[in-house]
Symmetry: C2
């Protein structure tokens, strides 16, 4: 069963990033949930930070967001559910271009746009 | 060169989703940029909506967020840059479990958590 990392507007993005990194060192995927713009923003920032934390482990992340309905204190709310995956090798050169990060080394954290730009 | 889809707090998420879907029907990847919590939220909601638009095309999406510094009217701002990829087949059963969506059919839009839960 995938764990659910709940993110609120008050969550520190570095703390959430630490939780993401901890889980993703052990698992292929996990789930995150955020309700409201501030919480979604914290969640996405946390993923960006976690990608940095995991770089030395040779792990990169990709995510897939979807909507889900949840009940909070008897009220129906729309939450953003974000599945986090380890980034597969096939995405590293999906368009036939090897990717490079700022220091010229190719790894799982490389940014295609830096090469393509 | 990847295109850059700029998302602001005023962007309608359905309009951004239409732009994402249009590009991703033709390309393997594209880039989106958002500055501020509201814009990031609109961008993520747009990806969730675009996944639905693309379902009938047999295309699903995954994204990778990162920070980038941009200059806006002479001021340095931190933006969230989001690379959008077509979701590779390998992610559909990355943990050895076939995924299913609500109607019992397996496709690129299936949600692992619905099976794992």
């Amino acid at each position: 069963m995938a764990e659910l990392i709940r993110v609120s507007a008050q969550s520190r993005s570095t703390a959430v990033a630490g939780a993401i990194a901890g889980v993703m060192r052990e698992q292929e995927q996990t789930e995150m949930q955020a309700i409201g713009a501030s919480a979604v923003n914290q969640a996405i920032k946390a993923v960006a930070i976690a990608r940095g934390y995991l770089e030395q482990d040779g792990i990169d992340l990709v995510i897939a967001p979807m909507f889900t309905e949840v009940e909070i204190e008897g009220n129906e709310r729309t939450a953003v559910r974000i599945t986090i995956y380890r980034r597969p090798q096939s995405l590293l050169n999906s368009n036939g271009v090897y990717t490079r990060n700022g220091n010229g080394h190719v790894n799982g954290n490389s940014v295609p746009s830096l090469v393509l730009a």
